[in-house]
Amino acid sequence: MENLNLVLPEIFISLSIMFLLVLGVFKKNSSGITFNLSLFVFLIAAIIAINETFSVNRETLFNGSVVIDKMSSFMKIITLLGGFLVLVISSSYLKIFKIFNIEYPVLILSSVLGMMVMISSNDLIVFYMGLELQSLALYVLATYNRDQLKSSEAGLKYFVLSALSSGLLLYGCSLIYGFSGSTNFDVISTQLNSNEYVLTFGIVFILVGLAFKISAVPFHMWAPDVYEGSPTTVTLFFTMVPKIAALTVFIRFLYVPFLNLIDQWQMIIVFLSIASMLFGAIAAIGQTNIKRLVAYSSIGHIGYTLAGLATASNEGIQSSIIYISIYVVMNLALFSCLLMLRRNNQYYEDIDDLSGLSKNHPLLSLSLLVILFSLAGIPPLAGFFAKFYVFKAVLEQSMYFLAIVGLLSTVVAAFYYLRIIKIMYFDKEKDKYDTDHSLWLKFSLTFSTILILLYFIFPSQLIEVVSRINII
């Protein structure tokens, strides 16, 4: 008998989704209660995940197609917390656009469920299933504000391009199955013969699909449009949670079945990393919409995460995981600020709308200052440590070129972060924004800003947790 306790969070979430849907059918005006219940679902699932899986070293289920190890449990917990936080700060935004419906929390829950399946997948088919589950929910979420043209456009774009990349990914999977005779990662790793070049084709196809999901250059085209068009809370979800899952799959896919083919894929990852870092930094300079700018900056940040992956060492993987964890916190803080730019039930998302913010809203602009300097990687803020760990791992492998290009692109990136700070602090003020924000929004901003600001006092804890993740 399988130990089903290990997948209890997934089981719990799927049952809750069904329950919430039924509740929505039978009870009128149930959006508020669905919302609150889904928050509890996230929390309970996270607690179960901590209880059941945190101490597990490595166990497989269902003929080895699902794996529970240190990495999957850590990533699942971040995913669940990320989902929770996104949901918790969305409510006031959705209410203003009159789209506060029961579908929203259910869609978020199902997409998180898909991500959790992805995170513990150890099999190409399971992985693909999880990927599609989360993508389908994301397509709908992108168009969630269906009365706005931009939102529909974003959803359609995302759907078409994502379907294309899924196609490539499936093609890669079939090639790999054809040459190794199995879809299981562990079996593939024993069956591989590195002389078969067709396998390399398979890897490349899958990498393209995955690079699309994390929006690494040159497969990033969809990101700015989709980020701009989607409702802001959904954009927040896009920038945080799917990346965690996709990164986990990236790590597992590269390091479990294809570790022996490292010569084949290392250059590809280095290229993706360098291209993303540079492109993200340069393309963001000309942006005027904050959400588009965040899209480009997130492309850049994915570049740094990939730099850690390119090292082919446990330290590198750990540094990537640390990077993405800190990045998630910074993004949460950034979007909390963005959601506070509201005046007369209208949200503002142009950079110029921040003009002179420091005069009218000193605390808000101070938090945004901290967040932006942290995103730029200036010490002693958390963002610096994220980059520091990555470059430490990169330099251990003597990849000097990657490190120097990466650090130089942080200087370029610093320019556009500074530009926002300049607009906030040096320019003339505009009208005041509303200050009656929900308690949760204030809480999430304060909490994440303090985390960023004071991370330097206790940097060891995160490292200690992450250092238990040993994939190789």
Binding site: P362, I378, F391, L395, A403, L407, L418, F426, S460, I463
Partner: protein
């Protein structure tokens, strides 16, 4: 473990800043905030004086060392002082209260935020001078960019945005290469602890590249020719207190870094690159002196003179002679006092007439005599007149240089003459001559706070000019130990 005096020096200004954060922010004359800031910085100054008194000058080891695990098995939070760093700490804690007193006249809006920025800046600067771990050093070194960027950008002059960006990006670009070098040192030697690195040394085959990476950061910060162009812009646009901090302390971080890291960690490479430093220093001294002669703007002139003076400093450091290095340190301290005073002097007339152009002044000696006397004193100190602290520094540097390379020393001596030329000419045009503008007659002489600040700066300038022993005694053992260590390392390679 004894009382963590260095950590409290670092932390105290930040705590003061945090406290200020909770005071009410009124535009205009916010006296509570000012007294809190002043009190904090004076207490910090007293602590640093206590530190100096209880510092044992006869041993070269680092003292008051605190060593705590920070990131398990990787970085320790390690701070400590030797004879070299203690002087810079005192310079920092001495200049900061003077800056805070001076803001009355120059900063009109958001006084509280300005004071917070200055206090946080003080924390970071003290941190730079005590850090005994490369990563900790880098952290403080870079973190200082944030408050300085805001000081220039929020309270600066008309072109403040351009200057703030230039300052930030130039310095950041220089520093990222240093970060690569620091991490590489960790992988090469297994530690980033400076004291341990002094003992085990760094493999000679890596030293040249590492030295260059550190150099890229320090050269921008010093600033050395040809990467000095951010300095005049930053100085001109920054408010007076910002210029003072920049000139008096921020520039010294790089000189300190050269002594502590470039010389201490990379003896072989320092030997290799000495000609490069000599060339750049001599160019800086002569070239920027000529540029200074041509300036119309007083602040710009003093900014260029800073580049020339820092040229002397880098020259002195890389003579690798006892006199040269001691001279450089004294020159840095003296320049910290004198350039701070000169920027304040410019600030005094700027606050009254709102012009920094030299040609809008002239013949003010009879109108504001007290000011003219003090300005005279600092002008003479800047050009290195015997009896002022400027002389001791330049003299020792040139002595060290003559021991090492005759030609370089002769060329550098030319700089002394040029320095006298542009400073005296500046003084003559501003203070003497005919009265060019009737409005000048309405100028008031120094008020109490300005008088206090300038006198506070004049006393040590004169005192150390006549009696430099306290400074030399403090640094002597540390410097000779540094040179011994350098020679031993060099011989063993």
């Amino acid at each position: 473990m004894s009382f963590p005096i260095l950590s409290s020096l670092i932390l105290l200004p930040s705590i003061g800043a945090l406290f200020l954060f909770f005071t009410k922010d009124k535009d205009g004359n916010n006296s509570t905030a000012k007294y809190v800031a002043l009190f904090t910085s004076i207490v910090n100054f007293l602590i640093s004086i206590y530190l100096w008194i209880s510092f044992d000058q006869s041993i070269s080891d680092f003292q008051f060392v605190e060593d705590r695990t920070w990131i398990e098995g990787f970085i320790n939070y390690k701070v400590g002082v030797d004879g070299i760093s203690i002087l810079f700490i005192i310079l920092t804690t001495f200049i900061t209260p003077l800056c805070i007193i001076s803001v009355n006249n120059s900063v009109k809006n958001r006084l509280r935020d300005f004071l917070i920025a200055i206090l946080i800046m003080e924390s970071f600067m003290i941190g730079v001078f005590c850090a005994l771990d490369l990563v900790v050093f880098y952290l403080f070194f870079e973190a200082g960019l944030i408050p300085m960027f805001l000081i220039i950008g929020i309270w600066g002059g008309p072109k403040r945005v351009y200057s703030a960006f230039k300052f930030f990006l130039y310095t950041l670009l220089g520093s990222v290469l240093m970060l690569v070098a620091i991490i590489s040192i960790y992988w090469i030697s297994g530690t980033t602890d400076v004291v341990k690195l002094y003992e085990i040394g760094i493999d000679a085959k890596y030293q040249n590249l590492l030295w260059l990476a550190f150099f890229s950061s320090f050269a921008v910060k010093t600033p050395m020719w040809p990467v000095h162009t951010w300095l005049p812009d930053a100085h001109v646009e920054a408010p007076t207190a910002g210029s003072v901090l920049l000139a008096a302390i921020l520039l010294k971080m790089a000189g300190y870094g050269f002594i502590r890291f470039s010389l201490g960690l990379f003896p072989v490479a320092s030997e290799v690159f000495t000609p490069l430093i000599y060339t750049l220093s001599v160019i800086a001294i002569i070239f920027t002196s000529f540029i200074a002669l041509m300036q119309e703007d007083m602040k710009k002139l003093i900014a260029y003179s800073s580049v020339a003076h820092m040229g002397f400093v880098t020259l002195g450091i890389f003579t690798l002679k006892q006199q040269g290095i001691e001279g450089s340190i004294i020159q840095m301290i003296s320049h910290g006092l004198v350039s701070a005073a000169l920027f304040l002097c410019v600030g005094v007339v700027y606050d009254r007439m709102h012009s920094r152009m030299i040609n809008s002044y002239g013949g003010i000696v009879a109108i504001i005599p007290k000011y003219s006397i003090l300005f005279m004193l600092f002008t003479l100190a800047a050009l290195g007149l015997p009896g002022t602290s400027g002389f001791i520094g330049e003299f020792l540097i040139l002595m060290g240089a003559f021991k090492d390379n005759f030609l370089v020393a002769v060329l550098a001596s030319l700089g002394v003459i040029l320095g006298a030329a542009y400073m005296l000419w500046l003084y003559k045009r501003v203070v003497f001559g005919k009265l060019v503008n009737e409005d000048l007659k309405k100028m008031l002489d120094l008020n109490k706070s300005e008088y206090l600040i300038l006198t506070c700066l004049a006393i040590p300038t004169l005192f150390f000019g006549f009696y430099p022993d306290p400074l030399i005694n403090t640094i002597e053992v540390s410097v000779s130990d540094l040179i011994n260590m350098h020679n031993i390392n060099l011989a063993s390679k």
